[in-house]
């Protein structure tokens, strides 16, 4: 057995398991989901078919189209909120904290909540914002209000807060990485050339952190777009997200073809966003050694 053969054998031994596995649990299920999205519904289940009715409905029926638009809007707000929270923090860490240890400790502290149960983090906001919740009872206890305010929970505002809270670490990670990568001598050079702090920020720091911003927006946007747990917990009747509608199709609505078509749309949008941000990042990437 020569060297090449041995290598090929090694590769086969290594990969045969994973290839079968990935094919079986990834490719085949995606293909099946795609196939079922063309099926038609027939009570109580569905029948094989090839028609575009499900996709057509998503465009023309308000209950799908409006929800899709709303999901995009909310995800955008969540990303903006996460950005507003994360940028000052990461900037402070990257440029103002001088001790490496302190920087690492604060950084890790912002990331840790990611591993704290997602569900419980969403749930705490329900206990905070509810009419009998902590915020209301605090305001009543201190005498600021007399009646509990029901405006806090079960609306889009609560959803944005909760999801921004949950997904901010995903904004922090890429932002911090890109800010830390900016060579300090560029900033010093800008200052030496007499450009003020604000000017330096606008012309040097911000443009150079664009890859991080892009990656952060991609993460938070896609994650909130695909979330159906928080909306159901803290969103009200008018806060259904596309993922909630998808989940319903596989639950009480019992319309798997419709649900599969909607999933394909979600999949397409997420993959499109990821690919686009990847392209942009690559096109705009500066080699700073």
């Amino acid at each position: 057995m020569n060297h090449l053969q041995r290598r090929q054998l090694g590769f086969a031994a290594l990969m045969s398991g994973p290839i079968v596995w990935w094919g079986l649990v990834l490719l085949v299920p995606y293909a099946i989901m795609f196939m079922i999205s063309f099926y038609s519904r027939q009570f109580p289940f569905h029948v094989p078919d090839f028609q575009f009715g499900n996709y057509w409905k998503i465009i023309v029926e308000d209950q799908y189209y409006m929800v899709l638009m709303r999901s995009l809007k909310i995800s955008l707000f969540v990303s903006l909120a996460a950005f507003a929270l994360a940028y000052p923090l990461t900037y402070y860490l990257a440029f103002k904290v001088r001790s490496h240890r302190v920087r690492m400790i604060i950084y890790v502290a912002t990331i840790i909540p990611l591993w704290v149960s997602y569900l419980l983090r969403a749930y705490t906001w329900k206990t905070i914002l509810g009419t009998e919740g902590i915020l209301n009872s605090f305001l009543m206890w201190t005498g600021i209000i007399n009646e509990p305010i029901s405006l806090f929970l079960y609306n889009q505002f609560a959803m944005v807060i909760t999801m921004a809270y949950i997904f901010t670490p995903y904004m922090v990670m890429p932002l911090f990485a890109s800010l830390e990568k900016i060579p300090r001598n560029l900033i010093e050079a800008s200052k030496d050339l007499g450009i003020g702090r604000l000017g330096t920020f606008w012309r040097i720091t911000l443009p150079l952190s664009v890859p991080g911003i892009l990656a952060g927006f991609t993460f938070t946007f896609c994650l909130s777009f695909g979330d159906f747990i928080s909306p159901q917990l803290v969103g009200g009747p008018y806060s259904n997200m596309i993922s909630n509608v998808v989940a319903t199709q596989f639950g009480i609505a019992m319309n798997w073809p419709m649900g599969s078509a909607l999933s394909m749309v979600v999949l397409f949008i997420v993959v499109a966003i990821i690919t686009m941000s990847d392209r942009f990042e690559r096109a705009g990437r500066l080699d700073l050694g």
Binding site: R7, F11, L14, M15, G17, P18, W22, V25, L26, L27, V28, P29, I32, M33, L85, P88, L89, Y91, Y92, L93, K96, H100, M104, V108, A109, T110, P113, W115, V116, S117, L119, L120, R121, Y123, T124, T127, I128, G130, E132, G133, I134, S137, F138, W141, M173, A177, E180, E188, C222, G226, D227, I229, V246, A247, F250, S260, S263, V266, V271, I274
Partner: protein, 289 residues
Amino acid sequence: MTAYASQTGERRRAEPRKLRFSRGGRDTTGRMLGVATGCVLAFMYAPIVTLMIFSFNTNQITKLPLTGWTLDWYEMAFSNSELMAALGNSLIVAAAAVVICLTIGIPTAFAMDRYEFPGKVVFRRLVLLPITLPGLITGISMLNFFSIVGVPLSLWTVVVGHGTALTAIVVTNVYARLQRFDRRIEEASSDLGARPWQTFLRVTLPNIRNAVIGSSLIAFTLSFDEIPVTFFLTGRDNTLPMYIWSTIRRGMTPEINAIGSVIIGTSIVLLLLSIFIMSEPGRGRRKAL
């Protein structure tokens, strides 16, 4: 989420540069940013701390003012047989999912590190899909798959789902470690007469051990907390997050605060442990101190 793990090691190298403009003098921007950072950290931790405080509060309803300290809710949670069964299920599922992640993830990482093969780029993207796409998509595609193949839903379908969704974590971490691994050590080992399997067991494996343990811990924690995939793939049995989910949709109970605090505490300990393990004491730590 995995990007972080490989970053901590890299960050340390960028350390020695000091910022000229932040040294000495009054730095108002720096102070404002510091306050903002403090606020964001408070925002990140306040809800978690609140949950923990209320798990010790006597009042049946989660509201202010605090009425007194008690351990009753913990006692209640731990004597709730349904909850304990769910906890047991979650532990089994998470352990089994980790086994899948390792048996598929490690060979995949090796193949990607050591072999060039046609379609490698596509394969890599495919493997990373489940952590980039919303869990909902993984859940639904596998639900479609299992129903067409005729596999009844149970905890085992959940295990397969978690295995699929989380293997990428092991792949990325082990792959990152392998990329930094000096292959000449392996060559030296085989020059000294070691059989390939001896080299693997005594040279390669000890070198990637930390990445394996660390990513297993992360995969375990995430599986333990998983909802979107579990939601679609579970049969009659509940995992802990699913149990909590169905309970808190009906209303809030201090019992959930109690079990929630236990989960949060445990996952923070596990996370710190995995950070500690993955930061590779011999190399990075000494430099950091």
